[in-house]
C-alpha cells in the first residue's frame, strides 16, 4: 500500500513510527505543523533522515556559527562554509577545495567497507564542487594496539582506505594513526580529500532554471545502507535500522573512478547547471538541498530511478545510501550530450525530475503524489538545539593531578632506555605497516608524503605551484582543556604545513565527540569549537568546512574529545619545499622556540606512566605564526636543508625521525639552562628543528634574532661518530654529549618493529 498525500489528508490520525526513525515527539509535531497534516510515510522518511544529527547538525549548529562569525578577513576564500566543501584561491587562477569527514560508526560495524565508503563519500564531495581530486588523507584512531578488537578493526580499516583510494588512483599523502583506550569500542575513521580546479570551473549545489532536468547518474540504487549513515551515526548501536535491509554500504571504487571521469567531462563541457553528490540520506538529501538552494521548486518521478533491487519501496528509495551516485541539473538542450558522455564512461544516467517554481518539492510514484513539502523545511530548517552544557565535575581534579611527581629518568643510561622505549611506543612508532598499503605515487605529483610533516602535491606542472596539508589532534590535550586542546591541534597542523615551506591558507576540521545529550561532553564540544574559532581568527586562516561526529562512546564513556584539524597551505614552487631528512656532514641543527617543563598529556606520561592529568602545554599562536614566517622564509630563500616540527614525543622523537629518514648520524647537545629530560621529551608547543648549511648560518640566525625567535644550536650532522663511540667506524649513531649514544640501527629496530609485531599474521 502506497501512502499518498491524499491518504495522509484522509487518514490524518494514522499512527506513525517516528520514534523508531529517530524523531522526537516535538520534532514529529513540528513536521505536522509544517505540512498542516500528518506526513506520508515517504515524507516521514525524508524528514527523519534529514533531521538526524548527522545531516542537520542540530546540536552543533549554534556553536559552529562562530566559524563564520569569527572568520578572519581574507581574499583567499572563494566559497565559504555551507557548500559541499569550501574553496580557496591559491593563485594563478587555481582554486583548491578540501574537506574531512568521519565514517566512525560504519567502520566499527564493517571495517573494510566502512572505511572504503568513507573515502568514497569525501571524494564525491570534492568532485561535486567541480574539482579534480588530487589526494586523500586518513586520520585514524584505535583502541590499544594489542587489544583483540584492534586486531579485528585496524587491518580492515587500513585495507579499506587503501583498497578504495588505490583503486581510484588518488595518492594517500598523510594521516594519523593514534591509539588510546577510549577508542576501543569506537574507532575513529576520518577521511580527507583535496581537489583543484580553475576558478571558472567552480560549481555549486543548486537547482536553477525552471524547466531544467534533474539527472541521477552512477550506480543503481539498492537496499544497502538504508538507515545506514543516519541510524548508525545518530543513535548508538543497539538501535538498528529496518531489519530486512542490511545497514552496510558496499563501495565500488571502480564505479567511482568512472563517475569522476564522467563528471569532470560534463562539467568541463559546460553541460551542468548545478551538481550534488549523494551521500548520507541519498535522494532525499540531494533533491531537497538542490531545490532549496535553487528556485525552490522541483518535481521528481521516483519510479524512474534505476534500481538494483526491484522490491524497494519508495520510502526506501528515498532513504537509500547506495554509493557512487551523483545528481546533476541539466538544461533540456544539453541532455543528449550529457547522456552521451555518461555512456562513454559506462555510467548509467536517467532523468528523474524537473526544476519548477512551485516552491515545493513534489515526488510521484507511478502517478500518485507521495511527497509534497517545502524543500527548505527538509534541508535547511530542521530543528536547532541549544543543548545544555557545563564544565565536568571532574575537570578540576583532572587538571590538579599534574605529572610533576612522576619518576623521571635520572642519568644518561636511563635517558637512553627511555628513548628506545619511547620511539617504539605505539603512538610514536613507525606507521609504515599502514602507509605502505597506500599508493603515494599515482598521478605523479606527490612531492611530500608519509613520513613527512605534511603531504604536498604539485597542482600546476608548468609553474610548480602546489599545496600542503596536515591533519592533527592530540585528544589528551583536548581532554585536559578542550579550548587549549583544539588550539594545540590547530597549532600542530599549522606547524606541519609551514615546516614544509608552505603558507597556511585555510582550515577544515572533523569534530569527533561523545553524546551531545551529555552536558559534560557538550561542554567539551563548545569549548573546543570556541578555541578553534578563536585560534583561526588569531592565525588569520578561515575554517572552510568540516564535519561533526557525535555519539562516539561506549556505554557512558565518551572518547577523548578529538577535534581533528586540517590545515591547507600553498607553496608557489614545490621545488623549494623543505623535507625532513637532514643533509650531509657538517650541517648545523637548530631548535627554534622555547622548551619548558611541560609533560601533562605528553606521550611520555601516557606511555611510560599511563598518566593523564594537569594542564596542557601553553598555547602561543603569535609565536606559532612567527615560527611559520621564519620557516617559510627559510624555505623560500634557500637557507634550510631540512625542517621537522616538534610535537608528540618531543625533541628526541623529532631528531630520531630526521636521522632515520636520512640514515646519517649526528652529535647533539642540550642547550644551557634546560634539564636534559625536559629538553628531550617535553612537549612544549611552538617549536621546530631545522638544519642549516654552514654557509647560511649567519643569515639564518640573524633573521631569527631580528624577529626575536629563540634559536639554539643543538647539534651537527656527523656520519663519522661511530668509532669514537666504540662502534664500527661506519656505524651511524646519534650522540647526546655528556648523556648517551645510541645507534640508528637500534633506533630503527625499536621504531619499526612495534606495529608489525602485533599486526603481521
Amino acid at each position: 500500500m502506497i501512502d499518498t498525500v491524499q491518504h495522509a489528508i484522509d487518514d490524518t490520525d494514522h499512527p506513525q513510527p517516528y520514534a523508531e526513525l529517530g524523531l522526537k515527539l516535538d520534532e514529529y509535531e513540528r513536521i505536522r505543523a509544517i505540512l498542516g497534516r500528518r506526513p506520508t510515510s515517504s515524507e516521514l522518511a525524508m524528514y527523519s533522515v534529514m533531521w538526524s544529527e548527522h545531516c542537520s547538525y542540530k546540536s552543533s549548529k549554534v556553536h559552529l556559527r562562530q566559524f563564520g562569525e569569527k572568520a578572519p578577513k581574507t581574499d583567499a576564500l572563494l566559497v565559504g562554509i555551507g557548500e559541499n566543501a569550501g574553496v580557496v584561491d591559491i593563485g594563478d587562477g587555481w582554486a583548491v577545495t578540501f574537506k574531512v569527514e568521519s565514517h566512525n560508526h560504519p567502520s566499527y560495524v564493517e571495517p573494510y567497507q566502512g572505511a572504503a565508503t568513507g573515502v568514497g563519500g569525501i571524494v564525491r564531495d570534492i568532485i561535486s564542487m567541480g574539482a579534480r581530486p588530487l589526494a586523500v588523507m586518513d586520520p585514524l584512531r584505535f583502541g590499544p594496539l594489542d587489544a583483540p578488537d584492534t586486531k579485528r578493526v585496524l587491518p580492515g580499516i587500513v585495507a579499506g582506505v587503501g583498497g578504495y583510494g588505490n583503486c581510484l588512483g588518488l595518492p594517500n599523502i598523510g594521516g594519523e594513526v593514534v591509539f588510546d583506550d577510549t577508542y576501543l569500542g569506537n574507532p575513529l575513521v576520518n577521511a580527507l580529500c583535496v581537489g583543484s580546479m580553475r576558478h571558472e570551473d567552480i560549481h555549486l549545489a543548486s537547482a536553477k532554471g525552471v524547466g531544467n532536468l534533474v539527472v541521477l547518474y552512477g550506480a543503481r540504487t539498492g537496499g544497502d545502507g538504508i538507515g545506514g549513515v543516519s541510524v548508525l551515526a545518530s543513535e548508538t548501536f543497539d538501535a538498528d535500522g529496518p531489519a530486512k535491509r542490511p545497514s552496510v554500504q558496499v563501495g565500488d571504487p571502480f564505479m567511482e573512478k568512472l563517475l569522476i571521469e564522467a563528471t569532470l567531462e560534463v562539467l568541463h563541457a559546460g553541460l551542468v547547471e548545478g551538481i550534488q553528490d549523494l551521500g548520507g540520506a541519498g535522494i532525499s538529501c540531494a533533491t531537497s538541498e538542490l531545490a532549496s538552494n535553487g528556485e525552490g521548486g522541483m518535481h521528481v518521478w521516483l519510479d524512474r530511478v534505476l534500481l538494483r533491487d526491484e522490491t524497494l519501496s519508495p520510502e526506501e528509495i528515498l532513504m537509500s545510501e547506495s554509493q557512487e551516485r551523483m545528481c546533476a541539473i541539466v538544461t533540456p538542450e544539453n541532455l543528449d550530450a550529457f547522456l552521451q558522455m555518461c555512456r562513454k564512461w559506462d555510467v548509467e544516467a536517467v532523468v528523474i525530475g524537473e526544476v519548477n517554481d512551485s516552491g515545493r518539492l513534489t515526488v510521484d510514484w507511478h502517478g500518485e503524489r507521495i511527497v509534497d513539502v517545502p524543500p527548505r523545511t527538509v534541508a535547511h530548517e530542521g530543528p536547532v538545539y541549544e543543548r545544555p552544557y557545563h564544565r565536568p565535575s571532574w575537570q578540576d581534579a583532572l587538571q590538579a593531578d599534574t605529572p610533576d611527581s612522576l619518576p623521571r629518568p635520572a642519568d644518561g643510561e636511563q635517558l637512553r632506555a627511555t628513548l628506545l622505549n619511547m620511539v617504539g611506543a605505539p603512538n610514536l612508532a613507525s606507521k609504515s605497516w599502514v602507509t605502505s598499503q597506500y599508493d603515494r605515487y599515482v598521478l605523479g605529483n606527490t612531492v611530500l608524503a608519509q613520513p613527512e610533516d605534511s603531504g604536498m602535491v604539485r597542482v600546476d606542472e608548468e609553474t610548480g605551484r602546489g599545496i600542503a596539508i596536515s591533519t592533527d589532534c592530540n585528544g589528551r590535550f583536548a581532554k585536559l582543556d578542550p579550548y587549549a586542546g583544539a588550539q594545540l591541534a590547530l597549532a600542530e597542523s599549522y606547524r606541519n604545513v609551514v615546516a614544509g615551506g608552505a603558507i597556511p591558507l585555510a582550515v577544515t576540521n572533523c569534530l569527533n565527540f561523545g553524546s551531545p545529550e551529555d552536558p559534560e561532553v557538550m561542554w567539551q564540544f563548545a569549548e573546543a569549537t570556541r578555541g578553534l574559532a578563536d585560534g583561526c581568527l588569531q592565525l588569520g586562516i578561515p575554517v572552510t568546512g568540516g564535519n561533526v561526529s557525535f555519539y562516539n562512546q561506549t556505554g557512558d564513556t565518551a572518547i577523548l574529545p578529538t577535534p581533528v584539524v586540517g590545515v591547507l597551505g600553498v607553496i608557489d614552487d614545490v621545488d623549494r619545499r623543505t623535507p625532513m631528512a637532514w643533509g650531509p656532514d657538517g650541517e648545523l641543527i637548530y631548535l627554534l622556540g622555547d622548551s619548558r617543563d611541560e609533560f601533562a598529556g605528553s606521550e611520555w606520561a601516557h606511555h611510560v606512566h599511563g598518566h593523564l592529568g594537569g594542564l596542557p602545554p601553553q598555547v602561543d599562536l603569535e609565536r606559532e605564526r612567527l615560527l611559520g614566517e621564519i620557516l617559510v622564509a627559510g624555505s623560500r630563500d634557500g637557507m634550510l636543508t631540512a625542517a621537522h616540527d616538534v610535537s608528540d614525543g618531543g625533541v628526541a622523537q623529532t631528531l630520531v625521525e630526521m636521522a632515520l629518514k636520512s640514515g646519517v648520524g649526528a652529535r647533539c647537545w642540550v642547550p644551557d639552562g634546560v634539564e636534559p629530560f625536559v629538553f628531550l621529551f617535553g612537549e612544549s608547543a611552538g617549536r621546530a628543528v631545522v638544519v642549516v648549511p654552514r654557509s647560511e648560518e649567519l643569515r639564518f640566525t640573524e633573521m631569527c634574532a631580528a624577529r626575536q625567535l629563540p634559536a639554539h644550536r643543538i647539534g651537527v650532522v656527523d656520519s663519522g661518530l661511530g668509532a669514537d663511540a666504540g662502534y664500527d667506524a661506519g656505524e651511524q649513531v646519534l650522540q647526546f654529549s655528556d648523556q648517551f649514544t645510541v645507534t640508528l640501527a637500534e633506533l630503527r629496530q625499536a621504531h619499526e618493529a612495534t606495529l608489525p609485531a602485533v599486526l603481521q599474521t
Partner: protein
C-alpha cells in the same frame, strides 16, 4: 580424512561489483540473456580424521565467522568423507 567445502556468497541485497563486472564482460563477449552474476569464494579444507562432534561444530562456527563475514555474506558448508 575429511574434505570440507565452504561456499561463501555476498548476501543477495549487498552490492556485488565483481559480479556486475563479469556480467558486463559476458555480455560483451556475446553471451546473451545473462540476468545476474554473483561472485563468491570457495574454500576446500582437507582435514585429518573424522570431522564430528565438537570439531564439526567448531568448523561450522569458523565457516560462519572466519571464512565468511556474517555482516555481508552467507555461507554453505558440506563435508565429504
Amino acid at each position: 580424512m575429511a574434505r570440507v567445502i565452504v561456499d561463501v556468497m555476498l548476501k543477495p541485497e549487498i552490492l556485488d561489483p565483481q559480479g556486475r563486472a563479469v556480467q558486463g564482460a559476458l555480455g560483451r563477449l556475446g553471451l546473451d540473456g545473462v540476468k545476474d552474476v554473483r561472485q563468491g569464494k570457495q574454500f576446500i579444507v582437507d582435514i585429518d580424521g573424522d570431522l564430528e562432534g565438537d570439531r564439526l561444530a567448531l568448523m561450522e562456527k569458523l565457516a560462519g565467522e572466519l571464512l565468511s563475514n556474517p555482516v555481508i555474506e552467507d555461507f554453505t558448508m558440506r563435508v565429504e568423507a
